[in-house]
């Protein structure tokens, strides 16, 4: 059952992408750790972390593609799931600090001491254990997606209205996490991390390990997403996207179909957030900014919606561009991003990967037509001779 699911997932493009991801998961850390800084192939640690961050963005975009590209759910709140995963990891990292904080409290994180709290709030229990935090990073986004999707899909909220309420969801979380009394560090969020699983979070080794983990998580998620969209269930998802009522009248419970994809997608986004936080060293309410979720949509559109690999390419290219661009003209990035989105929508509606695939298909069709023609001419010849 599971093996056939995975076999179906592994078409040629996915195999290549997974192989590439696994290769960089091994190669980049090796070039960082095993070469000396003046070696021409040396990858500096800041690059490792920068690209590690891009990989988590890529995973977030992949998660969005599963619901937007294949089921037509344009979520403008996916950064919320990402941020929740990030907060779960941040809480673990806070508790790893222990007595090394500025106030030296063995149990309470600095911001709680600062707020004059005497006890650890109940929802911080368990976050001293990595496995617990990792579980929460997946389950809480999944649970939120389940509750949200349960109501939204059952009441048949669709299209623009659905997009608007996903924005409202992330905005509500933004406001909530800004509050000090929520117990998540308020405005400043969670930062000043020291260790992860006992390893110094700043060290080259840890940075490389986080990079490799991000690449592997992306590869695994890509296989899962591909298995999903290639299954009969995945074909139903596309059916829901293209002709929702037809799917209903065939007897499928559209709300269940959407809900499953939405929950899986939110969980992937949570994993992405959990890997993001230790690499950037901070999580704050700004991650819930509705604009962040919209950026994810742009990465996905640029790379190619509904292609799985496209969003990965899009996330890396756009964020690479952002890093370069903001260094040169920091004020203009948002304009550049907006312009890019308009250009892609107008001239490359299928995105980079979608357009490339279309081009390859056309070439194949053309070559096939040529071959057919040649075969026909060949078949016709003996008759002419008779």
């Amino acid at each position: 059952m599971i093996s056939s699911f995975i076999l179906k997932a592994l078409d040629r493009n996915i195999v290549i992408a997974v192989a590439l991801l696994l290769a960089i998961a091994a190669l980049v850390p090796a070039l960082n750790l095993l070469t000396s800084p003046d070696h021409p192939l040396h990858v500096p640690t800041y690059i490792v972390s920068l690209f590690g961050k891009y990989l988590t963005y890529a995973l977030l975009a992949l998660a969005l593609d599963l619901v937007w590209g294949f089921c037509g759910i344009l979520s403008l709140g996916h950064a919320a799931f990402f941020a929740l995963g990030g907060y779960a990891m941040g809480m673990y990292l806070m508790r790893q600090i222990g007595a090394r904080g500025s106030y030296g409290d063995p149990l309470l994180p600095d911001f709680m001491v600062f707020l004059n709290w005497k006890e650890l709030p109940w929802f911080w229990y368990g976050f001293d254990m990595f496995w617990f935090a990792a579980l929460v990073a997946v389950l809480v986004p999944g649970l939120l997606a389940f509750i949200f999707g349960w109501f939204a899909f059952r009441s048949r909220v669709n299209g623009v209205y659905l997009s608007i309420i996903t924005q409202a969801m992330t905005f509500a979380l933004l406001l909530a996490f800004f509050r000090n009394d929520m117990g998540f560090g308020g405005n400043n969020g969670l930062t000043d991390f020291k260790d992860i699983m006992g390893f110094n979070i700043q060290s080259n080794g840890t940075r490389s390990a986080l990079f490799a983990t991000s690449a592997i998580a992306l590869a695994v998620s890509l296989i899962i997403a591909s298995g999903i969209v290639r299954s009969k269930y995945g074909k139903i998802l596309v059916g829901v996207r293209d002709a929702e009522s037809r799917t209903r009248f065939l007897g499928y419970r559209v709300e269940h179909m959407k809900l499953f994809a939405f929950v899986v997608s939110a969980m992937m986004a949570g994993v992405a957030g959990a890997l993001y936080v230790p690499q950037v060293g901070i999580i704050n309410p700004g991650e819930f900014d509705p604009a962040n979720s919209i950026e994810v949509v742009i990465w996905t559109a640029v790379g190619g919606r509904g292609t799985l690999i496209g969003p990965i390419v899009g996330a890396i290219l756009v964020n690479g561009g952002k890093s370069i661009f903001t260094a040169a003209f920091p004020e203009f990035w948002l304009f550049a991003l907006g312009g890019l989105f308009v250009l892609v929508t107008l001239f490359l509606p299928k995105g980079i990967v979608g357009t490339a695939r279309q081009f390859i298909e056309r070439r194949k069709d053309y070559r096939k037509a040529k071959a057919d023609e040649a075969a026909r001419a060949f078949a016709a010849e003996p008759q002419a001779a008779e």
């Binding site: 009522s245 037809r246 269940h256």
Partner: protein, 254 residues
């Protein structure tokens, strides 16, 4: 509001009695009543806006009636169920505008329509069985699409899309089939073939066909119900119905 002989109810496959529905004050259906017997092929005619599509919306759970009874197989109250439940009970529906999954192949369209377990996890781990694939083959030849099985539905001609949708309904294996204007936009040859196809299908299940094309209705040669302004105007053979003075005024005469 018993306008029909209630004794027809227990033996019927579909039973509508006094069904009314209004949209913003406009009465699309006005105390509509009729009965379909098991195995029957019934044609429904009527001018545009008569409420034919709305009637199908009510039967398939898309629209809730304001008043009246809708029963399937005498005992199942359809007004209490939603689209998916009604489809699973065995009522299939062909839309007025052909609605197939354009980005899937003809084969995949039929595979999705196949009457199998429709849950998330059973579809996630579904594997095509020999039985299912021979069923799909069978339907492909019934709807004359065997040589187009790998073509994307988007690339089919209009008539072929209509047939694919009928094929999907066959795959669904319903006891009752509702077909809304199946020959709209078809060539004469396609229309004639569709009549043959529907008669073939009606051998093993009940079928309700809504159509405008009088030639097609004559080809079918079955009992006809004429609707106008949301209720039944006349019912009987095509000759009987087309001789009815009110039918001529409301529909044929236009």
């Amino acid at each position: 509001m018993n306008t029909l002989a209630s004794n027809a109810k227990p033996t019927s496959i579909l039973y509508l009695d006094g069904v009314s529905v209004s949209f913003d004050g406009f009465r699309a259906l006005n105390s509509l009543s009729f009965v379909i017997e098991p195995g029957e092929l019934r044609a429904i005619i009527g001018p545009n806006g008569a409420g034919k599509t709305t009637m199908m919306d009510i039967i398939t759970g898309k629209t809730r009636p304001d008043a009246g009874e809708v029963f399937f197989k005498g005992t199942i109250d359809l007004t209490q169920k939603d689209e998916a439940e009604i489809a699973q009970l065995g009522i299939g529906r062909k839309f007025q505008k052909p609605t197939v999954f354009e980005s899937h192949t003809v084969w995949d369209n039929l595979e999705l329509a196949l009457n199998r377990n429709r849950g998330v996890f059973s579809t996630l781990f579904y594997r095509l069985t020999v039985e299912d694939s021979s069923r799909i083959e069978e339907i492909l030849s019934t709807v004359r699409l065997a040589d187009r099985r790998d073509v994307l539905a988007a690339n089919l001609s209009h008539g072929q899309k209509q047939w694919l949708e009928i094929g999907m309904l066959l795959a669904q294996d319903p006891e009752l089939l509702l077909v809304d204007e199946p020959v709209a936009g078809m060539t004469d040859a396609e229309t004639a073939e569709t009549a043959i196809l529907l008669k073939e299908i009606a051998k093993t299940r009940s079928v309700v066909v809504v159509e405008h094309d009088m030639g097609f209705i004559r080809d079918l040669g079955v009992k006809v119900t004429c609707l106008a302004e949301g209720s039944v105007l006349a019912e009987g053979s095509i000759d009987f119905v087309s001789a009815d003075q009110r039918v001529i005024e409301n529909y044929l005469g236009r």
